[in-house]
Symmetry: C2
Protein backbone atom coordinates (compact mmCIF):
# COMPACT_ATOMS: atom_id res chain seq x y z
CA UNK A 1 0.00 0.00 0.00
CA UNK A 2 1.29 3.43 -0.87
CA UNK A 3 0.13 6.91 -0.01
CA UNK A 4 0.49 9.63 -2.63
CA UNK A 5 -0.76 13.16 -2.17
CA UNK A 6 0.87 15.09 -4.98
CA UNK A 7 -0.57 15.31 -8.46
CA UNK A 8 3.05 15.84 -9.58
CA UNK A 9 4.02 12.34 -8.48
CA UNK A 10 5.38 10.34 -11.43
CA UNK A 11 3.17 7.29 -10.80
CA UNK A 12 0.09 9.55 -10.92
CA UNK A 13 1.33 11.29 -14.05
CA UNK A 14 1.81 7.90 -15.72
CA UNK A 15 -1.71 6.81 -14.82
CA UNK A 16 -3.16 10.13 -16.06
CA UNK A 17 -1.54 9.50 -19.44
CA UNK A 18 -3.84 6.50 -19.87
CA UNK A 19 -6.61 8.94 -20.73
CA UNK A 20 -4.94 9.08 -24.14
CA UNK A 21 -5.35 6.16 -26.54
CA UNK A 22 -1.64 6.30 -27.46
CA UNK A 23 -0.58 5.42 -23.92
CA UNK A 24 -3.30 2.80 -23.54
CA UNK A 25 -1.94 1.15 -26.69
CA UNK A 26 1.66 1.33 -25.45
CA UNK A 27 1.00 -0.07 -21.98
CA UNK A 28 -2.05 -2.30 -22.51
CA UNK A 29 -3.56 -0.59 -19.48
CA UNK A 30 -6.66 1.59 -19.13
CA UNK A 31 -8.51 3.54 -16.42
CA UNK A 32 -11.93 2.93 -14.97
CA UNK A 33 -13.78 4.77 -12.21
CA UNK A 34 -16.63 4.35 -9.78
CA UNK A 35 -17.52 1.56 -7.38
CA UNK A 36 -19.57 -0.56 -9.82
CA UNK A 37 -16.89 -0.83 -12.50
CA UNK A 38 -14.01 -1.27 -10.06
CA UNK A 39 -15.84 -4.12 -8.32
CA UNK A 40 -16.58 -5.79 -11.66
CA UNK A 41 -12.94 -5.51 -12.76
CA UNK A 42 -11.86 -6.91 -9.38
CA UNK A 43 -14.20 -9.90 -9.78
CA UNK A 44 -12.83 -10.47 -13.27
CA UNK A 45 -9.29 -10.38 -11.89
CA UNK A 46 -8.05 -7.68 -14.28
CA UNK A 47 -7.34 -4.97 -11.74
CA UNK A 48 -3.69 -3.86 -11.57
CA UNK A 49 -3.99 -0.92 -9.21
CA UNK A 50 -6.74 0.70 -7.14
CA UNK A 51 -6.58 4.35 -6.16
CA UNK A 52 -8.85 5.30 -3.27
CA UNK A 53 -9.62 8.79 -2.02
CA UNK A 54 -8.45 9.07 1.62
CA UNK A 55 -11.92 10.41 2.52
CA UNK A 56 -13.67 7.32 1.15
CA UNK A 57 -11.50 4.61 2.71
CA UNK A 58 -14.25 3.16 4.88
CA UNK A 59 -16.54 2.62 1.95
CA UNK A 60 -13.94 0.60 0.05
CA UNK A 61 -12.15 -1.23 2.91
CA UNK A 62 -12.89 -4.64 1.36
CA UNK A 63 -11.25 -3.62 -1.91
CA UNK A 64 -8.03 -2.34 -0.37
CA UNK A 65 -5.04 -4.69 -0.33
CA UNK A 66 -1.40 -4.44 0.65
CA UNK A 67 -0.27 -5.21 -2.92
CA UNK A 68 -2.10 -2.94 -5.25
CA UNK A 69 -3.73 -0.01 -3.45
CA UNK A 70 -2.67 3.62 -3.52
CA UNK A 71 -4.33 5.97 -1.06
CA UNK A 72 -4.66 9.38 -2.71
CA UNK A 73 -6.40 12.69 -2.14
CA UNK A 74 -9.40 14.21 -3.89
CA UNK A 75 -7.24 16.31 -6.22
CA UNK A 76 -5.62 13.18 -7.63
CA UNK A 77 -8.97 11.41 -8.09
CA UNK A 78 -10.28 14.45 -9.94
CA UNK A 79 -7.20 14.56 -12.15
CA UNK A 80 -7.64 10.92 -13.16
CA UNK A 81 -11.42 10.99 -13.53
CA UNK A 82 -13.39 11.54 -16.72
CA UNK A 83 -16.49 12.70 -14.85
CA UNK A 84 -17.60 15.32 -12.38
CA UNK A 85 -18.46 12.88 -9.59
CA UNK A 86 -15.89 10.08 -9.61
CA UNK A 87 -17.05 8.44 -6.32
CA UNK A 88 -13.52 8.49 -4.90
CA UNK A 89 -12.29 5.33 -6.57
CA UNK A 90 -10.23 4.72 -9.71
CA UNK A 91 -8.93 1.45 -11.13
CA UNK A 92 -6.08 0.71 -13.50
CA UNK A 93 -6.98 -2.36 -15.52
CA UNK A 94 -4.96 -4.59 -17.84
CA UNK A 95 -6.40 -5.24 -21.30
CA UNK A 96 -7.00 -8.90 -21.93
CA UNK A 97 -7.86 -9.61 -25.53
CA UNK A 98 -8.21 -13.14 -26.79
CA UNK A 99 -9.35 -15.37 -29.61
CA UNK A 100 -11.30 -18.15 -27.91
CA UNK A 101 -11.72 -21.50 -29.72
CA UNK A 102 -14.92 -23.51 -30.01
CA UNK A 103 -17.26 -20.55 -29.61
CA UNK A 104 -20.91 -20.80 -30.51
CA UNK A 105 -22.12 -17.19 -30.86
CA UNK A 106 -19.92 -14.24 -31.72
CA UNK A 107 -20.54 -10.61 -32.56
CA UNK A 108 -18.41 -8.76 -35.14
CA UNK A 109 -18.34 -4.96 -35.13
CA UNK A 110 -17.32 -3.58 -38.53
CA UNK A 111 -16.06 0.02 -38.24
CA UNK A 112 -18.28 1.17 -35.37
CA UNK A 113 -17.47 4.73 -34.33
CA UNK A 114 -19.85 5.66 -31.53
CA UNK A 115 -18.49 4.60 -28.13
CA UNK A 116 -22.00 4.49 -26.63
CA UNK A 117 -23.11 2.02 -29.29
CA UNK A 118 -20.08 -0.22 -28.79
CA UNK A 119 -20.50 -0.26 -25.00
CA UNK A 120 -24.23 -0.94 -25.27
CA UNK A 121 -23.56 -3.83 -27.67
CA UNK A 122 -21.01 -5.38 -25.27
CA UNK A 123 -23.68 -5.21 -22.57
CA UNK A 124 -26.30 -6.85 -24.80
CA UNK A 125 -23.82 -9.49 -26.04
CA UNK A 126 -23.16 -10.58 -22.46
CA UNK A 127 -26.90 -10.52 -21.67
CA UNK A 128 -27.70 -12.77 -24.66
CA UNK A 129 -24.89 -15.27 -24.02
CA UNK A 130 -22.54 -14.33 -26.82
CA UNK A 131 -19.08 -15.72 -26.15
CA UNK A 132 -16.89 -13.28 -28.03
CA UNK A 133 -16.97 -9.83 -29.57
CA UNK A 134 -14.58 -8.97 -32.40
CA UNK A 135 -14.07 -5.34 -33.31
CA UNK A 136 -12.42 -4.21 -36.54
CA UNK A 137 -9.22 -2.22 -36.10
CA UNK A 138 -10.73 0.87 -37.74
CA UNK A 139 -13.43 1.09 -35.04
CA UNK A 140 -13.46 3.36 -31.97
CA UNK A 141 -11.04 2.38 -29.18
CA UNK A 142 -12.60 -0.25 -26.90
CA UNK A 143 -10.97 1.37 -23.86
CA UNK A 144 -12.50 4.79 -24.43
CA UNK A 145 -14.19 5.74 -21.15
CA UNK A 146 -17.59 6.08 -22.84
CA UNK A 147 -17.38 2.52 -24.18
CA UNK A 148 -16.55 1.22 -20.71
CA UNK A 149 -19.34 3.20 -19.06
CA UNK A 150 -21.99 2.17 -21.60
CA UNK A 151 -20.87 -1.47 -21.26
CA UNK A 152 -21.74 -1.33 -17.53
CA UNK A 153 -18.77 -3.59 -16.88
CA UNK A 154 -19.61 -6.16 -19.57
CA UNK A 155 -16.20 -5.34 -21.06
CA UNK A 156 -14.59 -7.29 -18.17
CA UNK A 157 -16.81 -10.33 -18.56
CA UNK A 158 -16.88 -11.06 -22.28
CA UNK A 159 -14.03 -12.12 -24.56
CA UNK A 160 -13.01 -9.31 -26.85
CA UNK A 161 -10.46 -8.99 -29.62
CA UNK A 162 -9.56 -6.09 -31.89
CA UNK A 163 -8.10 -7.14 -35.23
CA UNK A 164 -8.38 -6.51 -38.96
CA UNK A 165 -11.60 -7.74 -40.55
CA UNK A 166 -9.50 -10.00 -42.77
CA UNK A 167 -8.01 -11.76 -39.75
CA UNK A 168 -11.37 -11.96 -38.02
CA UNK A 169 -13.10 -13.55 -41.02
CA UNK A 170 -10.12 -15.84 -41.64
CA UNK A 171 -10.48 -17.13 -38.08
CA UNK A 172 -14.26 -17.51 -38.35
CA UNK A 173 -14.11 -19.36 -41.68
CA UNK A 174 -11.39 -21.64 -40.29
CA UNK A 175 -13.64 -22.46 -37.35
CA UNK A 176 -16.59 -23.13 -39.71
CA UNK A 177 -18.83 -20.30 -38.52
CA UNK A 178 -21.90 -19.22 -40.48
CA UNK A 179 -21.61 -15.48 -40.99
CA UNK A 180 -24.74 -13.30 -40.86
CA UNK A 181 -24.29 -9.64 -41.73
CA UNK A 182 -27.04 -7.07 -41.17
CA UNK A 183 -28.02 -4.72 -43.99
CA UNK A 184 -31.24 -3.35 -45.48
CA UNK A 185 -30.73 -4.65 -49.02
CA UNK A 186 -33.25 -6.23 -51.38
CA UNK A 187 -31.68 -9.66 -51.15
CA UNK A 188 -31.62 -9.60 -47.33
CA UNK A 189 -33.44 -12.34 -45.45
CA UNK A 190 -35.75 -11.22 -42.64
CA UNK A 191 -34.38 -12.11 -39.21
CA UNK A 192 -37.62 -13.99 -38.47
CA UNK A 193 -37.08 -16.25 -41.50
CA UNK A 194 -33.50 -17.12 -40.60
CA UNK A 195 -32.77 -20.60 -39.26
CA UNK A 196 -29.67 -19.70 -37.30
CA UNK A 197 -26.80 -22.14 -37.25
CA UNK A 198 -25.54 -23.20 -33.81
CA UNK A 199 -22.13 -21.72 -34.54
CA UNK A 200 -22.61 -18.29 -36.00
CA UNK A 201 -21.25 -14.77 -36.18
CA UNK A 202 -23.44 -11.67 -36.40
CA UNK A 203 -21.82 -8.73 -38.21
CA UNK A 204 -22.94 -5.14 -37.56
CA UNK A 205 -21.82 -2.20 -39.67
CA UNK A 206 -20.86 1.45 -39.33
CA UNK A 207 -23.47 3.93 -38.03
CA UNK A 208 -23.64 5.92 -41.26
CA UNK A 209 -22.50 3.55 -43.97
CA UNK A 210 -23.47 0.07 -42.81
CA UNK A 211 -21.31 -3.00 -43.37
CA UNK A 212 -18.17 -2.89 -45.48
CA UNK A 213 -17.63 -4.78 -48.72
CA UNK A 214 -15.32 -7.15 -46.84
CA UNK A 215 -18.20 -8.11 -44.56
CA UNK A 216 -20.64 -8.35 -47.45
CA UNK A 217 -18.30 -10.66 -49.35
CA UNK A 218 -17.70 -12.91 -46.37
CA UNK A 219 -21.35 -13.19 -45.30
CA UNK A 220 -23.33 -16.40 -45.77
CA UNK A 221 -26.56 -14.45 -45.37
CA UNK A 222 -27.51 -10.78 -45.30
CA UNK A 223 -30.15 -10.26 -42.62
CA UNK A 224 -32.62 -7.44 -41.96
CA UNK A 225 -35.25 -6.61 -39.36
CA UNK A 226 -38.95 -6.04 -40.18
CA UNK A 227 -39.70 -2.34 -39.79
CA UNK A 228 -41.92 0.47 -41.03
CA UNK A 229 -40.87 2.43 -44.10
CA UNK A 230 -41.45 5.68 -42.17
CA UNK A 231 -37.81 5.67 -41.11
CA UNK A 232 -34.58 4.64 -42.86
CA UNK A 233 -32.97 2.47 -40.23
CA UNK A 234 -32.64 1.54 -36.58
CA UNK A 235 -29.83 2.58 -34.28
CA UNK A 236 -27.08 -0.06 -34.69
CA UNK A 237 -27.03 -1.00 -31.00
CA UNK A 238 -30.80 -1.53 -31.16
CA UNK A 239 -30.68 -3.54 -34.41
CA UNK A 240 -27.74 -5.61 -33.12
CA UNK A 241 -29.41 -6.27 -29.78
CA UNK A 242 -32.68 -7.35 -31.43
CA UNK A 243 -30.72 -9.73 -33.67
CA UNK A 244 -28.73 -11.12 -30.71
CA UNK A 245 -31.96 -11.52 -28.73
CA UNK A 246 -33.36 -13.50 -31.65
CA UNK A 247 -30.15 -15.52 -32.21
CA UNK A 248 -29.35 -16.10 -28.54
CA UNK A 249 -26.38 -18.07 -27.31
CA UNK A 250 -26.66 -21.07 -24.93
CA UNK A 251 -25.88 -20.38 -21.31
CA UNK B 1 -36.61 36.10 -47.86
CA UNK B 2 -34.21 38.09 -45.71
CA UNK B 3 -30.47 38.43 -45.67
CA UNK B 4 -28.72 38.79 -42.31
CA UNK B 5 -24.96 38.96 -41.92
CA UNK B 6 -24.48 40.14 -38.36
CA UNK B 7 -24.46 37.83 -35.38
CA UNK B 8 -25.64 40.86 -33.39
CA UNK B 9 -28.94 40.97 -35.30
CA UNK B 10 -31.88 40.61 -32.90
CA UNK B 11 -33.58 37.87 -34.92
CA UNK B 12 -30.39 35.80 -34.76
CA UNK B 13 -29.96 36.47 -31.06
CA UNK B 14 -33.54 35.29 -30.47
CA UNK B 15 -32.93 32.08 -32.40
CA UNK B 16 -29.67 31.44 -30.54
CA UNK B 17 -31.59 31.64 -27.24
CA UNK B 18 -33.44 28.48 -28.30
CA UNK B 19 -30.35 26.51 -27.33
CA UNK B 20 -31.61 26.97 -23.76
CA UNK B 21 -34.56 24.91 -22.56
CA UNK B 22 -36.09 27.96 -20.85
CA UNK B 23 -36.56 29.75 -24.18
CA UNK B 24 -37.75 26.61 -25.94
CA UNK B 25 -40.42 26.28 -23.25
CA UNK B 26 -41.42 29.95 -23.57
CA UNK B 27 -41.68 30.02 -27.35
CA UNK B 28 -42.59 26.41 -28.21
CA UNK B 29 -39.81 26.57 -30.81
CA UNK B 30 -36.57 24.60 -31.11
CA UNK B 31 -33.53 24.45 -33.40
CA UNK B 32 -32.40 21.66 -35.68
CA UNK B 33 -29.44 21.47 -38.05
CA UNK B 34 -28.17 19.54 -41.03
CA UNK B 35 -29.83 18.62 -44.30
CA UNK B 36 -31.41 15.34 -43.19
CA UNK B 37 -33.28 16.79 -40.21
CA UNK B 38 -34.31 20.00 -41.97
CA UNK B 39 -35.75 18.01 -44.87
CA UNK B 40 -37.65 15.75 -42.48
CA UNK B 41 -39.09 18.74 -40.58
CA UNK B 42 -40.04 20.32 -43.92
CA UNK B 43 -41.87 17.16 -44.99
CA UNK B 44 -43.66 17.06 -41.65
CA UNK B 45 -44.70 20.70 -42.13
CA UNK B 46 -43.28 21.92 -38.81
CA UNK B 47 -40.60 24.23 -40.16
CA UNK B 48 -41.02 27.91 -39.19
CA UNK B 49 -37.76 29.33 -40.50
CA UNK B 50 -34.79 28.04 -42.49
CA UNK B 51 -31.39 29.69 -42.24
CA UNK B 52 -29.04 28.88 -45.09
CA UNK B 53 -25.35 29.70 -45.32
CA UNK B 54 -24.78 31.98 -48.35
CA UNK B 55 -22.03 29.59 -49.50
CA UNK B 56 -24.39 26.61 -49.59
CA UNK B 57 -27.33 28.17 -51.42
CA UNK B 58 -27.08 25.94 -54.47
CA UNK B 59 -27.29 22.80 -52.40
CA UNK B 60 -30.52 23.88 -50.73
CA UNK B 61 -32.27 25.78 -53.54
CA UNK B 62 -35.34 23.55 -53.37
CA UNK B 63 -35.78 24.30 -49.66
CA UNK B 64 -35.58 28.07 -49.99
CA UNK B 65 -38.85 29.98 -50.10
CA UNK B 66 -39.88 33.62 -50.14
CA UNK B 67 -41.74 33.26 -46.86
CA UNK B 68 -39.49 31.61 -44.38
CA UNK B 69 -35.86 31.68 -45.49
CA UNK B 70 -33.04 33.76 -44.05
CA UNK B 71 -29.76 33.81 -45.96
CA UNK B 72 -26.92 34.09 -43.44
CA UNK B 73 -23.15 33.78 -43.30
CA UNK B 74 -20.99 31.04 -41.86
CA UNK B 75 -20.43 32.90 -38.57
CA UNK B 76 -24.18 32.89 -37.90
CA UNK B 77 -24.54 29.20 -38.75
CA UNK B 78 -21.69 28.42 -36.36
CA UNK B 79 -23.27 30.50 -33.63
CA UNK B 80 -26.57 28.63 -33.92
CA UNK B 81 -25.09 25.17 -34.38
CA UNK B 82 -24.49 22.57 -31.66
CA UNK B 83 -21.85 20.76 -33.70
CA UNK B 84 -18.54 21.38 -35.39
CA UNK B 85 -19.78 20.72 -38.91
CA UNK B 86 -23.31 22.10 -39.24
CA UNK B 87 -23.63 21.59 -43.05
CA UNK B 88 -24.68 25.21 -43.60
CA UNK B 89 -28.34 24.76 -42.77
CA UNK B 90 -30.36 25.40 -39.61
CA UNK B 91 -34.10 25.07 -39.05
CA UNK B 92 -36.39 26.63 -36.48
CA UNK B 93 -39.20 24.20 -35.77
CA UNK B 94 -42.50 24.54 -33.89
CA UNK B 95 -43.23 21.96 -31.19
CA UNK B 96 -46.38 20.05 -31.89
CA UNK B 97 -47.45 17.91 -28.98
CA UNK B 98 -50.72 16.06 -29.00
CA UNK B 99 -52.87 13.43 -27.35
CA UNK B 100 -54.20 11.34 -30.22
CA UNK B 101 -57.41 9.32 -29.70
CA UNK B 102 -57.99 5.72 -30.72
CA UNK B 103 -54.34 4.72 -30.67
CA UNK B 104 -53.31 1.09 -30.69
CA UNK B 105 -49.68 1.07 -29.49
CA UNK B 106 -48.10 3.71 -27.31
CA UNK B 107 -44.80 4.07 -25.51
CA UNK B 108 -44.55 5.75 -22.10
CA UNK B 109 -41.19 7.04 -20.88
CA UNK B 110 -41.07 7.34 -17.10
CA UNK B 111 -38.31 9.70 -15.96
CA UNK B 112 -35.78 9.00 -18.73
CA UNK B 113 -32.71 11.21 -18.40
CA UNK B 114 -30.34 10.24 -21.19
CA UNK B 115 -31.11 12.20 -24.39
CA UNK B 116 -29.49 9.51 -26.56
CA UNK B 117 -31.82 6.87 -25.11
CA UNK B 118 -34.92 9.01 -25.63
CA UNK B 119 -33.98 9.83 -29.24
CA UNK B 120 -33.17 6.19 -30.00
CA UNK B 121 -36.51 5.10 -28.54
CA UNK B 122 -38.41 7.63 -30.71
CA UNK B 123 -36.61 6.16 -33.74
CA UNK B 124 -37.50 2.59 -32.73
CA UNK B 125 -41.11 3.56 -31.88
CA UNK B 126 -41.59 4.92 -35.40
CA UNK B 127 -39.88 1.85 -36.90
CA UNK B 128 -42.19 -0.53 -35.02
CA UNK B 129 -45.42 1.37 -35.80
CA UNK B 130 -46.09 2.89 -32.41
CA UNK B 131 -48.59 5.75 -32.73
CA UNK B 132 -47.68 7.89 -29.76
CA UNK B 133 -44.89 8.45 -27.27
CA UNK B 134 -45.69 9.96 -23.87
CA UNK B 135 -42.84 11.31 -21.78
CA UNK B 136 -43.16 12.13 -18.08
CA UNK B 137 -42.57 15.75 -17.19
CA UNK B 138 -39.55 14.89 -15.01
CA UNK B 139 -37.72 13.40 -18.02
CA UNK B 140 -35.02 15.07 -20.15
CA UNK B 141 -36.26 17.80 -22.52
CA UNK B 142 -37.52 16.28 -25.79
CA UNK B 143 -36.06 19.21 -27.74
CA UNK B 144 -32.52 18.76 -26.47
CA UNK B 145 -30.30 18.59 -29.57
CA UNK B 146 -29.02 15.13 -28.62
CA UNK B 147 -32.56 13.76 -28.46
CA UNK B 148 -33.32 15.18 -31.90
CA UNK B 149 -30.09 13.85 -33.40
CA UNK B 150 -30.50 10.35 -31.93
CA UNK B 151 -34.13 10.30 -33.14
CA UNK B 152 -32.85 10.72 -36.73
CA UNK B 153 -35.92 12.86 -37.43
CA UNK B 154 -38.45 10.42 -35.92
CA UNK B 155 -39.38 13.26 -33.56
CA UNK B 156 -41.15 14.98 -36.50
CA UNK B 157 -43.07 11.90 -37.57
CA UNK B 158 -44.49 10.42 -34.38
CA UNK B 159 -47.04 11.89 -31.99
CA UNK B 160 -45.42 13.01 -28.77
CA UNK B 161 -46.74 14.52 -25.56
CA UNK B 162 -45.00 15.55 -22.37
CA UNK B 163 -47.21 15.44 -19.29
CA UNK B 164 -47.35 14.22 -15.70
CA UNK B 165 -47.49 10.43 -15.30
CA UNK B 166 -50.83 10.88 -13.53
CA UNK B 167 -52.35 12.61 -16.54
CA UNK B 168 -50.82 10.09 -18.94
CA UNK B 169 -52.18 7.08 -17.04
CA UNK B 170 -55.54 8.79 -16.55
CA UNK B 171 -55.80 9.19 -20.33
CA UNK B 172 -54.70 5.60 -21.00
CA UNK B 173 -57.09 4.09 -18.48
CA UNK B 174 -59.92 6.20 -19.89
CA UNK B 175 -59.14 4.88 -23.35
CA UNK B 176 -59.05 1.29 -22.02
CA UNK B 177 -55.41 0.58 -22.70
CA UNK B 178 -53.63 -2.43 -21.20
CA UNK B 179 -50.51 -1.12 -19.50
CA UNK B 180 -47.29 -3.17 -19.58
CA UNK B 181 -44.38 -1.87 -17.53
CA UNK B 182 -40.89 -3.32 -17.82
CA UNK B 183 -38.97 -4.31 -14.69
CA UNK B 184 -36.79 -7.20 -13.57
CA UNK B 185 -38.90 -8.30 -10.59
CA UNK B 186 -39.80 -11.80 -9.45
CA UNK B 187 -43.44 -11.45 -10.40
CA UNK B 188 -42.62 -10.15 -13.89
CA UNK B 189 -43.94 -12.07 -16.89
CA UNK B 190 -41.43 -12.88 -19.62
CA UNK B 191 -42.03 -10.86 -22.78
CA UNK B 192 -42.26 -14.11 -24.74
CA UNK B 193 -45.14 -15.33 -22.55
CA UNK B 194 -47.15 -12.15 -22.89
CA UNK B 195 -50.26 -12.19 -25.08
CA UNK B 196 -50.26 -8.51 -25.95
CA UNK B 197 -53.57 -6.72 -26.15
CA UNK B 198 -54.28 -4.85 -29.39
CA UNK B 199 -54.50 -1.57 -27.51
CA UNK B 200 -51.55 -1.34 -25.20
CA UNK B 201 -49.00 0.95 -23.63
CA UNK B 202 -45.42 -0.09 -22.91
CA UNK B 203 -43.82 1.75 -19.97
CA UNK B 204 -40.02 2.12 -19.67
CA UNK B 205 -38.29 3.41 -16.56
CA UNK B 206 -35.34 5.53 -15.52
CA UNK B 207 -31.82 4.41 -16.51
CA UNK B 208 -30.64 3.88 -12.93
CA UNK B 209 -33.80 3.28 -10.92
CA UNK B 210 -36.29 1.67 -13.29
CA UNK B 211 -40.00 2.43 -13.30
CA UNK B 212 -41.61 4.60 -10.63
CA UNK B 213 -44.19 3.44 -8.13
CA UNK B 214 -46.83 5.33 -10.11
CA UNK B 215 -46.05 3.17 -13.15
CA UNK B 216 -45.92 0.00 -11.06
CA UNK B 217 -49.31 0.74 -9.53
CA UNK B 218 -50.92 1.51 -12.87
CA UNK B 219 -49.50 -1.50 -14.73
CA UNK B 220 -51.67 -4.45 -15.71
CA UNK B 221 -48.55 -6.58 -16.16
CA UNK B 222 -44.88 -6.22 -15.27
CA UNK B 223 -42.79 -7.57 -18.15
CA UNK B 224 -39.15 -8.65 -18.39
CA UNK B 225 -36.81 -9.91 -21.09
CA UNK B 226 -34.99 -13.28 -20.93
CA UNK B 227 -31.32 -12.63 -20.29
CA UNK B 228 -28.20 -14.09 -18.73
CA UNK B 229 -27.51 -13.49 -15.04
CA UNK B 230 -23.98 -12.36 -15.92
CA UNK B 231 -25.21 -8.77 -16.15
CA UNK B 232 -27.80 -6.79 -14.16
CA UNK B 233 -29.80 -5.22 -16.94
CA UNK B 234 -29.99 -4.06 -20.54
CA UNK B 235 -29.70 -0.50 -21.74
CA UNK B 236 -33.23 0.97 -21.61
CA UNK B 237 -33.31 1.87 -25.31
CA UNK B 238 -32.33 -1.71 -26.13
CA UNK B 239 -34.85 -3.28 -23.74
CA UNK B 240 -37.60 -0.92 -24.95
CA UNK B 241 -36.81 -1.58 -28.61
CA UNK B 242 -36.83 -5.35 -28.12
CA UNK B 243 -40.20 -5.09 -26.37
CA UNK B 244 -41.60 -2.82 -29.14
CA UNK B 245 -40.26 -5.21 -31.78
CA UNK B 246 -42.08 -8.01 -30.01
CA UNK B 247 -45.28 -5.99 -29.42
CA UNK B 248 -45.31 -4.30 -32.83
CA UNK B 249 -48.01 -1.90 -33.97
CA UNK B 250 -50.05 -2.36 -37.14
CA UNK B 251 -48.98 -0.33 -40.13
Amino acid sequence: MRIIKSIQNQAIKDIAKLKEKKYRDMTSLFIIEGEHLVRMAQEAGNLETILVDENELEKYLDLISEDNTIIVNEAIVNKLSYTKSPQGIIGVVRKREVYVQGLSKVLVLDNLQDPGNVGTLLRSALAFNYNQVFISDNSVDLYNDKVIRASQGAIFKINIKRDSLDNIFHFLKGEKFKIYATALTNNSVFLEELKPSKKCALVLGNEGNGISDTSKNNADEIVKIHMSNKIDSLNVSVAGSIAMYYIKGEK
